[in-house]
Symmetry: C2
């Protein structure tokens, strides 16, 4: 314990009542683990879209400006009224950030469970991980095999559990195939591998030829490119072939969620013997789980009345699924960490670089194929 610094650098995001967002660093006293806690030196933590939602929230990032405080970078941006309304619950409260990450346990509380982790590499879930150190309960850590590369352990939860949750949801809700958008993402690549291993037909929607190639190389069978002129026809053909009646949409805005429902309906109508003015009686479900496009969702309702469009969030799913299922999903992550659940990062940055304005604009653009990994301890 003698080699620990006195303070811990933590990133915070604050919405001010006057309509301004400020993201900055604070040096806080180094925490001391309680009996059931461990102190983890953070080695790697990804910037997920879900982190960006908290980090910059409803701010207008075109107004973002850089400054410094105590020699550390600060980003400030204006928040338009709709953003202020959406974030009304967090005004005046400086919130820590960082959903997940990996590191090494450098101090542990007195309990045997905590002591058992001392010196181990662990994956962490639970916010406040954009920091040099994170003190958290043992239950929020997932011990990783000795020698695990911190980069491989950084994204153990959000994408690996979400991609598995899609397949679990399919089984729980009685569907037999899945349509997925932004399918070339890290999460999408995991889903391709899970579905291949589990024999689940998967329709991958991407938006460029480069992404088509990437997924083909991974062995994906059904890939449709939304940039193609005949996209809707190809989507229908793939859905007819797979029988998918369940979709997961990372994009949220625009027409895509509605196009998925419409294609499922056309496929369902093809299977009907008689015409119904209300469309097919095949239940079609699309879940929106991301917001790569923050614009409005536009539904051209040409898909009858037997459909549902819903939000999807990992934590409530895990609570509903129960401890046994969650245990099984977590074990699969550990077992297949460097294969199925391998993440790819395009950029490694330091903690303070994460608040360099140019870098922030780059990762906030959420370009497919670009993924940033923060390494708070070099």
């Amino acid at each position: 314990m003698t080699d620990l610094p006195d303070t811990n650098l933590v990133m915070l995001t604050l919405v001010k009542p006057e309509g301004e967002l400020e993201v900055f660093f604070e040096r806080r006293p180094m925490p001391t683990p309680k009996p059931h806690e461990v102190l983890v030196k953070v080695h790697a933590t990804p910037i997920n879209p879900s982190d960006l939602g908290l980090l910059f929230g409803g701010a207008d990032m075109s107004t973002a400006r850089a400054s410094t405080r105590d020699g550390l970078p600060v980003i400030t941006a204006d928040v338009p009224p709709p953003g202020m309304r959406a974030m009304s619950g967090r005004i005046g409260e400086a919130l820590p950030i960082g959903n997940e990450g990996s590191g090494v346990v450098v101090a542990a509380g007195d309990s045997p469970e905590a002591q058992a982790l001392l010196g181990k590499t662990v994956a962490m879930l639970g916010g406040e991980i954009y920091a040099e150190y994170r003190c958290l309960p043992v239950g929020m850590c997932l011990p990783l095999p000795d020698g695990t590369d911190p980069a491989d352990g950084a994204s153990c939860f959000v994408n690996p559990l979400t991609s598995q949750a899609f397949v679990e949801t399919m089984r729980m809700e009685g569907h037999s195939a899945i349509v997925h958008t932004a399918a070339a993402s890290n999460l999408g690549q995991m889903l391709v591998k899970i579905c291949a291993a589990d024999g689940v037909p998967l329709v991958n929607i991407v938006r460029s030829e480069a992404q088509v190639k990437l997924l083909k190389d991974l062995g994906a069978e059904h890939i449709v490119n939304s940039s193609d002129d005949d996209f809707q026809d190809k989507l229908i053909a793939a859905i007819v072939e797979t029988g998918a009646t369940l979709g997961f949409d990372a994009i949220g805005g625009g027409k895509l969620a509605g196009q998925m429902l419409a294609a499922m309906e056309v496929a369902a109508v093809k299977r009907m013997a008689t015409y119904s003015r209300y469309g097919s009686d095949t239940f079609k479900q699309v879940y929106i789980y991301g917001a790569l496009d923050l614009g409005p969702t536009i539904l051209n309702r040409s898909f009858g009345l037997t459909w549902s469009l819903s939000g999807f969030l990992l934590t409530p799913f895990l609570q509903k699924a129960g401890a046994e299922v969650v245990g099984r999903l977590r074990q699969r992550v550990v077992d297949e960490l460097t294969t199925t659940f391998k993440s790819h990062y395009s950029h490694d940055i330091s903690l303070t670089e994460a608040l360099d304005l140019e870098v922030a604009h780059a990762y906030n653009a959420k370009r497919t194929g670009e993924k940033y990994l923060i390494r708070p301890n070099g």
Copy 2:
């Protein structure tokens, strides 16, 4: 039986492969009831929005033109390509129309159940009711008390069962209050009375001061006018007061369904102790059950990720609810036919007048407060 004519005038709607819709009459041989069937002389049948969906479907009614065939009116209109795609399952098939109605049983099959209805006034469900006579199974008839006005019996199913289905859905899915749009409609007025009788808080969304007054006179407690500048604030206030997390939307197009979800979310966030970047964990459900606005549904997703927007259709609901519930709902319709479930009609028309082009344009406009009743036998 000797006083029955040889033929029965039936209205039909046909989509032709060349992209044209034709609505016309056909003289068909008078049907003879099978053992479990009755022949009903149709006295009154309403034009519901759900009938219009089949009648004119995806046709462009601005192109509609009138003609005659065998001295009877015909309406013809062009169908643009999206309409042809949506109606691909019915091309080339002349379909009868008319979801519900009332009349007197003038002939009956040999079974005791059918014979028991001879001479009785009945309500009917089951299409093909825009006709002078309708032959149908006993099970599709609801016997009405002697002396029931045919106009009172004409709309026994669609609106009375749908309005009751909303309250049943609320109970089945664990909500405790309801938001309803187009609340001044016949269905909306029934819902006001049901909710008052059952002690269910109801937020009524209307779009004019005249409709506010109409519902106030009915005793409705929470009425918000979507034409008011402070509509969203008033909607939020009503939802805070009632705790509604369930909405039924007859309009479908535009921003209203999303505004309902957003208002429910604001109300839910007010009840939260701590901020969550993903919004509240209160589940919010809006069902779209109509399409008064055929335009796209536009969702500005400012309501977290714990929500669902779904289609709602009466028949699948009744199948899911089961025979006991359906029996209870039907009995309530009979018991409260001239009170809770009283329908109001602004126009009485004959069967052939229903295909007068000017009349058709008028009822196809679906103006709130205007409701057409067809009287095929004067």
